[in-house]
Amino acid sequence: MALGETIRNSQIWKSIFRHPMPLDRRNRIVVMLTNFFLHLHPVSIKKQGIALSFTWCMGGVTFFLFLVETVTGVLLMFYYRPTLEWAYNDILALRDVTSLGILRELHRWGAHAMVITTWLHMYRVFLTGSYKPPREFNWVIGVILLLLTLLLSFTGYLLPWDQLAIWAITVGSNMARASPILGYEGPGQQLLTIGGIDMITDGSDARFGLLGARFVGEETLNRFYVLHCIAIPLAVALLLAIHFWRVRKDGGISGPL
């Protein structure tokens, strides 16, 4: 124990942690108030609000999976180049050459799991009626997070650039071609004709905007890569910050009045 004491009393340790070990009641309160990561939480909380049978810890698990995806995603970016020449081969090498090659597995199964836990979290929030006032808007933020989670997964699906990838994205993005008014096979696209010139063609419709091309090709790979690795994660991070902040501001985890 003496060594532990020495470390905990050293100048370095004390400069990092702004509080003593949380062994007694006072310090257990102090740690929550002075630690950057823990200050997201309140100091004390209703027992039922942290009961596993109530929250299933699903929001927390979803958030943790998001962190896992971020870390494994960054590591994957070291090995992966989003070009027609390299994308597939880099993934192949990840499987066959890289040592301890389960990075891709962790990222892919983590992504599937995150979709599932997001649904389960929404399910529990619905079943406990936790979207009711004053938490309406946090539910709305949650729905956007759900949409972004699906889009994260969808954009990532393309990156291995194998048959599974491009055809899943082709099937999925073909829907955009049928958008009312804005898709070139969609109902009413004829309405957007200016001076006899059809404005909505396969080179200008909603699907083109999504894919950056008339079919799933190199432009799409680049576009999805940027969306997947930068744009959507940033949006999710921002919304998560608001989501968590609102949980606190709306009075903590819901419970009967």
Binding site: Q48, I50, W56, Y88, Y123, T128, K132, V143, A178
Partner: protein, 441 residues
Amino acid sequence: MHSNGLFLKDVAGFLGGYYTALAVMNAVAAYILWRRKHQTGWAIVWTAFASALMVLASLAMSGSAAWVPALPQAVRSLVNTLSGPVNYTAGTTALLLILFVFRKFFVQPMVAWTVLNGALVLMGLSMADENFASIVMKPDNVPIVGLVFLLAFFTWVATKQAVVNDERIAQGLPPMEKVNDEKVLVWPDLVYTELICMVGVTAFLLVWAILLQAPLEEPASSVKTPNPSKAPWYFLGLQEMLVYFDPWYAGVALPSMVIFGLMALPYLDFNKKGNGYYSIAERKFSYLTFQFGFLELWITLIILGTFLRGPNWNFFGPFEYWSPYKVEVLNNVDLPQMFWVNLLNRPLPRVAADAPWYAHVGTILLRESPGLLIMAAYMLLLPPLLAVTAFRNYFAKMGFIRYMVMINLMLLMLTLPLKMVLRWTLNLKYLISIPEFSLNF
């Protein structure tokens, strides 16, 4: 069809481990029942069941393909012939309804445990079928199996508490969540729970990643279209809707409405009760609407789209070989055809190609008048009609705008099951079909 000894040898090891794991699970349950709950009778039942599972495990691992426990071929064929979109949808709806109506019975731990064991053993027996296994074991499909069991489990967790709360509320007592509202410190109570969750999830993910390799097929080729071509699994409910609707509706309009409807939900549900605790009786309408949309129209359609739709998006029974040559007769008819040609015995209204634009529009309107009238009645007449009948109270409490948003969302959601029924009973293809404007509904 393609079942052979080689496949059974491959799957035998997996099944041996699977039944052993189930046996351990039941043995642990029996131990807990005996030591902690003092329910010796049940403990004996599950010990006996665990022993039976060990017999299954030894049979699976006996080294002889003939011994691997499997469903009799006759049962598999029967299931295959009985399954189809109609029976599947009717069956899942009926199942959910039964679970809901008799929820007090099903939430009892021993009943739920029996159901779980039944499902798991059925799953094991089915895995000995090559066709079943080849679809379920596709790496990207494994999560959906997990999703099904997780959903069932958490629905049980929630319903069990709701049943208790509803009984308490009926007796004038507060819900259990209220009883448990003493305050505890976040460190250590919550922080440690979170830590344990994180370790658990990490361990789970590591095991999953080591056991199951991520799929990587041939390099992308824009000329070789796989059959079937499927979207990622979480969109397969939408892809399944393409059977009944055109992409503009199934792939764009309806999903947008789902997102919008979810966002609108807290503003439409004016019921103040059931806030912050599990309850069904206090919020039956919103509960049933949500469960129908989520479990029946979203989850079961994903399962259908993933496991039962094969080449050419044809329907295949769970034990059926996915033959790309299976042909399904499509004799679906549009409503104008039914009305003008079949019913009135006259040709569809037509107009000369060089007629002025309003003649074209007029002809289209005339030709499509049956469908347009039905849709007008559905979307324009039903809302006010319901406002003075079935939804009179809702209308009074919600006010005009909120009521209209709610009722329109409901009607849009119901277009899907209604269209399914029309397809199955009348072979109806489109209610409205205006190819001139790519507008089919």
